[in-house]
């Protein structure tokens, strides 16, 4: 039984062409061997067993594909054999998907992506990044101003589980306590993974909501940054401003960078659908969607790094100076990468 599973299915010998009494059946029998050969190649391609395909077969693939396609065109006009026509249509379609299928594997794509495709996509949405950055700064300022006017706002802006004792009016020692690390690495891996998973889910949501012309994305950005602004005010008020910024910057430069990109990607899709220019809305949406998808793949990657930084580096490094240094180095790394990566390769790997 197991043997039968792995055995290559035998191709049945073809009947004598002259035996067919209909002209269209003779047409079919003359070409059937080629169709079956094409089908065998297509099946190996579909099941990703590339080693099974011999060199001759691979070279013959485009020719066989075109032959089958022209057979189909002829058969449509000369044959009334419904089963053969249906088979040919399905075969040509499947062959077409393979001939024009994705050329790269996931890993091949990843290499192109990290080697420049990502930063090219990021650079091409610079306008949305600028808008999202302005919105984020405005959101932070709004949070700050609201809470400084009326501390009650703090509870509306910062969810209870996120606050964790960081409240307006809490004394300095209690606030400083919340910035302490844990000193050992126990339990931190799970924490880092949780942060990564959670933040990625939020970023993907922010992107997906950009579909509605970007407005929900903007709202999400404003709301999230307002809670940051509120917290900033609380810590500055207690004279712990620098410590808080350092504590936040360890992972924050990476994480907020990722959120910025996710928001900008969502905006990019929304903006190109609202203002498609001289393209149709459909093609504008498809173009921007693919570009934004590259940015988003990068966002998930950044959040994985942010999760590690937040889970480990922040908990293990106590010195505000060292924390600030890590955050600044990360920021510098990202800026350098996005500015320079993929310049030489030109548009290689950029969204089509």
């Amino acid at each position: 039984m197991a043997l039968a599973l792995f055995k290559k299915s035998e191709i049945a010998p073809l009947p004598d062409i002259e035996a067919a009494s209909l002209r269209s059946d003779r047409f079919r029998l003359e070409r059937e061997a080629d169709w079956r050969r094409l089908e065998a190649i297509v099946i190996s391609l579909e099941t990703n067993r590339l080693r099974r395909i011999s060199d001759e077969d691979l070279l013959a693939l485009p020719v066989l594909y075109r032959q089958a396609a022209s057979s189909l065109a002829v058969a449509r006009e000369t044959s009334l054999d419904a089963a053969t026509l249906a088979y040919l249509e399905a075969l040509v379609r499947r062959a077409w998907f393979q001939v024009y299928g994705p050329r790269t594997s996931l890993f091949g794509w990843l290499r192109l992506f990290l080697g420049g495709g990502w930063s090219i996509a990021v650079r091409s949405i610079w306008l949305e990044i600028a808008i999202a950055l302005a919105v984020m700064v405005a959101g932070t300022a709004a949070g700050w101003v609201l809470v400084s006017q009326e501390p009650e706002w703090y509870y509306a802006l910062v969810p209870g589980e996120m606050a964790g004792g960081r409240e307006p009016g809490a004394d300095r020692a209690a606030l400083a306590e919340t910035l302490k690390g844990t000193g050992d690495s126990e339990g931190l891996t799970a924490f880092a993974t949780f942060l990564f998973s959670n933040n990625s889910a939020v970023s993907i949501l922010a992107f997906a909501l950009g579909f509605a012309f970007g407005i929900p994305t903007l709202l999400l950005l404003v709301y999230n940054m307002a809670s940051l602004g509120a917290m900033l005010w609380v810590f500055f008020k207690a004279g712990l401003g620098w410590e808080f910024v350092a504590w936040l910057s360890v992972h924050g430069t990476t994480e907020f960078g990722a959120i910025l990109l996710a928001g900008a990607a969502g905006l990019h899709v929304g903006r190109s659908m609202a203002f498609p220019g001289d393209r149709s809305v459909m093609s504008a949406a498809a173009d921007s969607g693919r570009r934004a998808a590259q940015v988003m793949a990068g966002v998930v990657f950044m959040l994985a790094i942010a999760g590690l930084l937040e889970g480990f580096a922040r908990q293990l490094v106590e010195q505000p100076g060292a924390r600030g240094a890590i955050g600044s180095v990360m920021l510098l790394l990202w800026l350098t990468y996005f500015t320079f990566a993929g310049r030489r390769t030109g548009r290689l790997g950029a969204a089509s």
Binding site: D25, A73, L85, Y87, Y100, G101, R103, S200, F211, A286
Partner: protein, 294 residues
Amino acid sequence: MNAVTAARNPSEAKRRRELVTPEGLSLPLTLASKGARAGALMLDLALIFLGLVVFSLILAALGIGISQVEGEQVAPGIEVVLVLVILLLFLARYGYFLWFEIGPRGATPGKRALGIRVAARGGGRLTAEAVIARNLMRDVEVFVPLVFLLSGGASGVAGIAAGVWLAIFVLFPFFNRDALRAGDLIAGTWVVEAERRKLPQALSLTPRTPGTYRFGEAELSVYGEHELQVLEGVLRHDNAEAQRKVVEAICRKIGWEPGHGDDRQFLEAFYEALRARLESGMRFGKRKKDKFDR
């Protein structure tokens, strides 16, 4: 599934699209029906769910329960498991569809089971970015509404507003011609039928003694292409009872006396003669759609 049968089935005719490949060949495509797509999604979700259940059963069999995770101090062994669980949930939500659709089949197991796949709209290459884009949107189209419904759905004005908002995404495929969901629109993709078909035997191969049956112009001119294809189906299914009925129907129509014992022979001969006649008509540009076509 060719042009003739499609014309008789309006819902399928509506889903047919012509695709022009880069070398200028016109390739017929049939968009996947909404039913098939919904079915594929259900299958995939069921598979994911099943996978998660199996995983948690394995954990339970290993004696790892929630209770051990909730403690203040997390043991190192448990922590690895916890990391695995979080990553697995993340991958189930975002990775499953992505991984399968990037592959050469362009289809998740559910899609493959229903004979459909993802393709680039307009005949281009299906790129990894397109697959990523369409699956990022899946989040607001499938998972968020699912969580929303499971968590009790609409309550209050905000709940109803959220429900309406999500309904826009869920019902999106019903409001455009190509049944695109929001993710398809963003990614420039669509979902098409891509089933495998077997090539059956050619029908005019059976040798028979010439002159057993001879059909004249009058007998053959009563039927058209549609009837020919019905007859082809009957011959391919090879059901004696159905063949008997068809023999009787044909004989009534052409005014012959139905013989006994050689139904299949008669049908094959009639099929061949009719097909030869209709195909020679085709070569001269004359087509007869069905028996009503004059």
